[in-house]
Symmetry: C2
């Protein structure tokens, strides 16, 4: 059974995962980060030790590596303690870990995390993968303490989930951002969009997104769309996004 | 004071507005639609008369014209009864109505409507504009019975709100749709995305979208992004959307 955990990384995901582990009664014994400032900040929150050296990791049952994807392999290479090691990345195959460890896996919470925003872990899908049945059982047991939605997901499927998450979260948020910037530039409040944003996300809880679609692009209403493109004339990037997404909506709706 | 209302149109907005008016104790006396089927369907729900002829409109205090934008002017031209006439469109200037009526205005509820989905009108921003103070007071009184968020908004600002709504609702929903299609094609459930979608829309209730952004495009993580582009190789349109939005996110995040 996993009880003592070392966290490698102090970013958004590591921060929120650390807090959730602590709330669920697990012992986060140590936080590692490259910079002392980040390591200490998270260690203070979790009331545990910290280090900036991968040679000084504490003994533990699980080492959770949650660093930027392009830093992952160089970090893995430096971990010498004997324990189960997991990463938390959406698009990195589990097999990468087999080069460095005997017992390993993936612990991928499918959610968007920011340092300053608390999240309720209980509904977050946690996607697991493991080097053996024994490790998988341990990870299931751990994940089950955080969330009621624990899934075994192969690396290929996880990568696809991550890609779908880029569309349904990062790209969605960018559309919010463009709306916000556009209104701010003209002195209008983004608050006016909030009931619409809530309803748009609520709608797809029980309708398929393709059936929930509305707006001028559905019927390629050129009069309206040309007025919108005029408003975007000074902003070629937003104009390109408007045209590309409108055409894509039209094609999708008319090939149903 | 407005009590008796004629609804011109039986689409998504007319349907939900008609129901909300009825719930608030107003008399929807008649529904017009081009097709008998649509007119009768909504009239049945609202328990009122219907017609497919604009020559047979009933006497009323307000005529609400809620038809497709490109059909609007030809409908307006045929309305002969003497009453206050409003349209409900985001991007059509109020002045269009001055060609045909003495008392007129705009009644624009900023929301996404589908026929089969009930909405809570009480939080929907209703954007009003009117030909005179007297008409404006009447519309404010009416809108106040439906919603606690009633705003006087000039045509130019309304058009901008509508454009922002295309980004924050229609384009957002299209990103959901792409995620849904992508997962369905590989036999994965869109339900896995739902906690993420909820959190993404909840986050911006108290964070600015620019500060809520996460994901590989923020730091232009090319290793991950190339893996995603590989998965999109068979779908050039999704690939274009991925590239354009990722570049736009990167630029936005790095010009903060």
């Amino acid at each position: 059974m996993i009880q003592r955990i070392v966290l490698i990384g102090a970013g958004n995901l590591a921060t929120q995962l650390g807090k959730a582990l602590k709330r669920s009664g697990l012992d986060v014994v140590q936080v590692y980060s490259r910079t002392k400032e980040a390591a200490k900040a998270l260690a203070d929150v979790l009331e545990c030790k910290f280090t900036t050296s991968l040679d000084e990791l504490q003994p533990c049952d699980l080492c959770v590596v949650s660093v930027k994807d392009d830093a992952l392999e160089s970090v893995l290479r430096q971990i010498r303690i004997r324990t189960t090691v997991v990463h938390t990345a959406g698009s990195i195959p589990m097999e990468l870990l087999s080069r460095y460890f005997k017992d390993f896996g993936v612990f991928y919470p499918l959610q968007t995390f920011s340092k300053q925003r608390e999240v309720d872990f209980s509904t977050i899908p946690i996607c697991l993968e493991a080097s053996s049945e024994v490790v998988l059982e341990d990870l299931k047991d751990l994940a089950g303490k955080l969330s009621s939605c624990v899934q075994t997901i192969h690396s290929d499927e996880r990568r696809l989930l991550h890609l779908a998450a880029v569309f349904t979260c990062n790209f969605v948020n960018h559309c919010y951002q463009i709306g916000d910037a556009m209104l701010e530039e003209r002195g209008l409040s983004f608050d006016l969009m909030k009931p619409l944003i809530q309803e748009t996300s609520q709608k797809i809880m029980d309708m398929k997104p393709i059936d929930a679609q509305t707006g001028p692009a559905v019927r390629m209403d050129e009069t309206i769309m040309n007025k919108h493109l005029e408003l975007l004339a000074d902003h070629p990037e937003r104009k390109n996004i408007y045209q590309l997404l409108s055409e894509s909506i039209y094609k999708t709706q008319n090939n149903k």
